[in-house]
Symmetry: C2
Subunit: 291 residues, 2 copies
């Protein structure tokens, strides 16, 4: 089966054909008309003949209908019927899920972890997640299971964009880390820049990532107590900053004390930036699709 895979992010769109393995990946900026960016990318790949189309897309969305309203794509924020539009244009079955959910499916299917219970996380512009339990992707009632970014890690903490207070995402997402550092005098422009400063030993940058690591440690402790997974695989740009990890591990060890929780492997994701595309292909495996 030739699966056309699409990964729709806030700043770029990526696509490739998966046929036993993932073929060459092409990318394009999302800026301008996102539908034009998507079809420009897919048309030449679809011309080679495809059987099905899998899509990883930023949330929120109506699942499984695939009406998407990614926070970082203004043109679609009112809701765009991406699944139906793609099915109509390319004439093949389309399956679409949250990008962090696709990453979790990919880590389980292709990451080589050798476990049947896994929480996949993406720590980047937001903090997302997806959940594989008993070897199957768990969707939840509305497709939002695994949404670890809104676990409460500090009940008196900052207001989160969701309207709640003290959510993991409100503290540990990239822009929140940068804002915190800038409020303490840092000149960092974005997460990459702040990560570079931390690598040079900049005190405020190190404190900023330590604070995010602490929040991640608390949120992950809660999640593994509740879920009894064997692996938490963490991807996304922020997860690649080394100074995040010592505090994450220390806080996690303080809070995750029950025997089954102490043995959980909490580690960087095994797959790189192709994880979303691989997960989009995995959606055609019935272990990862129940709709």
């Amino acid at each position: 089966m030739r699966t056309l895979c699409l990964d729709v992010g806030g700043t770029k769109v990526a696509a490739a054909v998966h046929d036993e393995t993932l073929g060459p990946v092409t990318r394009r900026a999302t800026a301008g008309d996102p539908w034009a960016s998507v079809t420009d990318l897919l048309d030449p790949l679809a011309a080679g003949g495809i059987d099905q189309l899998g899509v990883a897309c930023g949330g929120p969305m109506e699942w499984p209908a695939g009406v998407v309203a990614p926070l970082n794509i203004p043109a679609w924020v009112g809701g765009f019927p991406l699944r139906d539009r793609l099915a109509e244009k390319y004439g093949v079955p389309v399956r679409l899920h949250n990008d962090a959910v696709c990453v979790a499916a990919a880590e389980h299917a292709f990451g080589g972890w050798g476990v049947e219970d896994l929480l996949g996380m993406v720590v980047s512009t937001g903090v997302g997640g997806g959940l594989v339990l008993g070897g199957r992707l768990v969707d939840g009632g509305t497709g939002n299971a695994g949404h670890v970014g809104h676990v409460v890690v500090d009940p008196n903490g900052p207001v989160c964009p969701c309207g709640g207070r003290g959510c993991l995402e409100g503290i540990a997402r990239g822009p929140a880390i940068v804002d915190w550092a800038r409020s303490r005098g840092s000149k960092a422009t974005d997460g990459v820049d702040l990560g570079r400063l931390a690598a040079q030993g900049d005190s405020v940058a190190l404190q900023a990532f330590a604070r995010a690591g602490n929040a991640l440690g608390i949120g992950i402790a809660s999640a593994i107590h509740l879920l009894d997974v064997q692996v938490v695989a963490i991807g996304g740009g922020i997860s690649q900053v080394p100074s995040l990890w010592p505090t994450l591990r220390r806080t996690l060890a303080e809070h995750a004390r029950l025997s089954y929780a102490r043995e959980v492997r909490v580690e960087p994701a095994h797959l790189g930036q192709e994880a979303g595309l691989l997960g989009a292909a995995a959606l055609f495996d019935d272990r990862y699709w129940s709709a």
Copy 2:
């Protein structure tokens, strides 16, 4: 099929035969030799002829092996092979799971909620839980999925018996609520007594249950964001204290703000004290047993 059902708690053991419906329930104190209490209760019921034996038991335990070490039964705290001993004595298949997990299965199977995604909770001497997702009981890697009592609700809160800090159970379990009230001058002897004082308008008792309700609201907000369930059904003695609920609902509303989380029904469990026995019967439905 005639299922012999057993519910092993810290202070009493209950049993009944389930044959399409649950027959008369007999009870006995656990005090003394718990194995003798169990067999005294089961022998006359088994004499009527049974096909299988389902057991709900307090944790922790090795699952699915059924080696139990309930915190409140000193004679078994080193680990007692309850499943094997019962299979040997009664010569029928035995399935055994955590009592809070059985309550969750029972609420899904017999509670009339009409949903496929449900977190069942028991707020009593401890705070336990069990998880039904996509219409199936979720076990997790070691049978501990749904263990909501160790979600962190206050990172700087009291040390929990598990060794962690600020766990929901460390604040909202009955003995912790009573301890908190007594440290502020209350003469309450146990949770029932403190509940009676709260019903009379006693200020310290009301504050104690409000504090527990606040912790429950935070923990449940985290759980429903992560799990995307449609229902949280809360049983156990502490959940029956009315003054717990207004604070629980207010805190939950403050923290559970994403659209899918706002619509979750968080309500008292539908089944009464027979929920554990009904769940023990449900373990022979393959929706609730994957071992």
